[in-house]
Amino acid sequence: MALILVGEDDLDVTELLLILLEDAGHETVHVDNGEAAVEAYARSRPDLVLLDVAMPGALDGLEVTRRLRVLEGAGDRGRVPVMLLTARALEEDRRSGLAAGADAYLVKPFEIDEMLQTIDSLLA
């Protein structure tokens, strides 16, 4: 069982995602914007971070990922896997996601099994 920080602003996606993750035996912390994601990361020390790229506010998923990597560099914690969820299917978007420090990148609408398997492999 892992603690997963979920940053997603879409209400439908959020609710179903949380049920699915909890059903798979994980605990979740949810935020709906980038600033709150950075705060929640520092406060709750999750095992994995799942972020929507297009969140409202000044920090999108890419910027949150960059900041988490900076925070990790400054602290004593190991690298926490980050998975980005996005509706952007362009190769350049995928590259910028990975360049920001994400470990996995899923394009919406994605296969649920693929998401759960990716989470398992990132936590392994």
């Binding site: 602003d9 439908d12 996606v13 179903l16 995602l17 890419l62 919406k108």
Partner: protein, 331 residues
């Protein structure tokens, strides 16, 4: 804590500003003359500066010029009503904004917040700028006004590019002329600038008398005042009652890319809902029955949400086809 250097020789002004800014959580430093201001700017590295133009000794304009040789910290200028030329010179020298005396503290705070936001902008990775009824993509070089593509001349493009990438910032005539035309300024080119702003306004549906995007700063230049939209503010509240026609109408001003994003979110949620139904198939507990009922209701809402977005997208496909016919000389 944000450190602000206040440069003014009037003790009442610096005292009032210090108190007001400290209450807002700023760390305030004060310099009563130009030399001291430059010294403090170099030694204390303030995050922002508020500079009065009338200073004994080294004047405000000189302070700005010197500080700009090494620092990009936001500078807000305070000026009297009679200092129009000095104000323009200060902006050209590198000041970011100005406030005319006398001013209200609320406006001062708002200007400082705007300067802070600009000093730490969120990284723009896609080149997309979304405003109410207007979507600009600087990478793809497209402009959509109310969902329909607008065609701009190269000069109008450069002008729009400078404006949207410097939101809320006063861009002087001289600065714009240099950036857009790469030329020195004169009366004739300043007239040309006005003409291009006028035609750009017409194309993006703006009104000089009630500007939504480009505000004329009399005697100084132009300011982009378009309010950037976020996903929160543009999309209908799907949680409330849906009326179909009303939602489709609300989507008229939403960018096509935003709509596709919306569609993909709804489809993602739908897939998760289906997965949950499958997983609980055969379970007969009270919990799983309640979950199935809740997920079914959500599935229904999602199907509705998708159909409304599909209608909005379909009307655009119709528009695009109409454009193609009109622009194809072979037909």
């Amino acid at each position: 804590m944000t450190r602000v250097l206040v440069v003014d020789d009037e003790p009442q002004v610096t005292h009032a500003l210090s108190r007001a800014l400290s209450r807002q959580g700023y760390d305030v430093l004060v310099a009563a003359d130009g030399e001291r201001a430059v010294d403090l700017a170099a030694t204390s590295e303030p995050h922002m500066m508020i500079v009065d133009l009338s200073l004994p000794g080294l004047n405000g304009l000189e302070v700005i010029k010197r500080v700009r040789t090494w620092s990009q910290c936001p500078i807000l200028v305070l000026s009297g009503v009679t200092q129009e030329l000095a104000k323009v010179q200060a902006l050209d020298a590198g000041a970011d904004d100005y406030l005319q005396k006398p001013f209200g503290l609320d406006e001062l705070h708002a200007r400082l917040r705007a300067l802070e936001r600009r000093a730490a902008p969120a990284e723009e990775t896609s080149g997309r700028h979304d405003f109410e009824g207007l979507q600009v993509n600087l990478v793809a070089r497209t402009v959509e006004v109310g969902g329909a593509e607008a065609r701009l001349t190269p000069t109008e493009w450069r002008l729009l590019e400078e404006l949207v990438t410097h939101p809320e910032q006063l861009l002087t005539h001289r600065w714009l002329l240099q950036r857009v035309w790469d030329s020195s300024h004169g009366d004739e080119t300043r007239d040309a600038l006005r003409a291009h702003v006028r035609s750009l306004r017409a194309k993006i549906g703006d009104d000089a008398h009630a500007p939504r995007f480009i505000r004329t700063e009399s005697g100084a230049g132009y300011r982009w005042v378009g309010v950037a939209r976020t996903a929160e503010t543009v999309l209908p509240d799907w949680g409330g009652s849906v009326t179909g026609e009303q939602d489709a109408a609300e989507l008229a001003g939403v960018g096509t890319r935003e709509l596709v994003h919306e569609l993909n979110n709804a489809l993602t949620a739908m897939r998760m809902a289906v997965q949950l139904m499958r997983m609980s198939d055969g379970e007969v507990t009270e919990d799983s029955a309640a979950m199935r009922a809740s997920v079914l209701e959500r599935l229904d809402g999602l199907a509705w949400r998708i159909s409304v977005v599909a209608v909005a997208l379909e009307s655009r496909v119709g528009d695009r086809r109409g454009d193609d016919v009109g622009s194809d000389p072979g037909r």
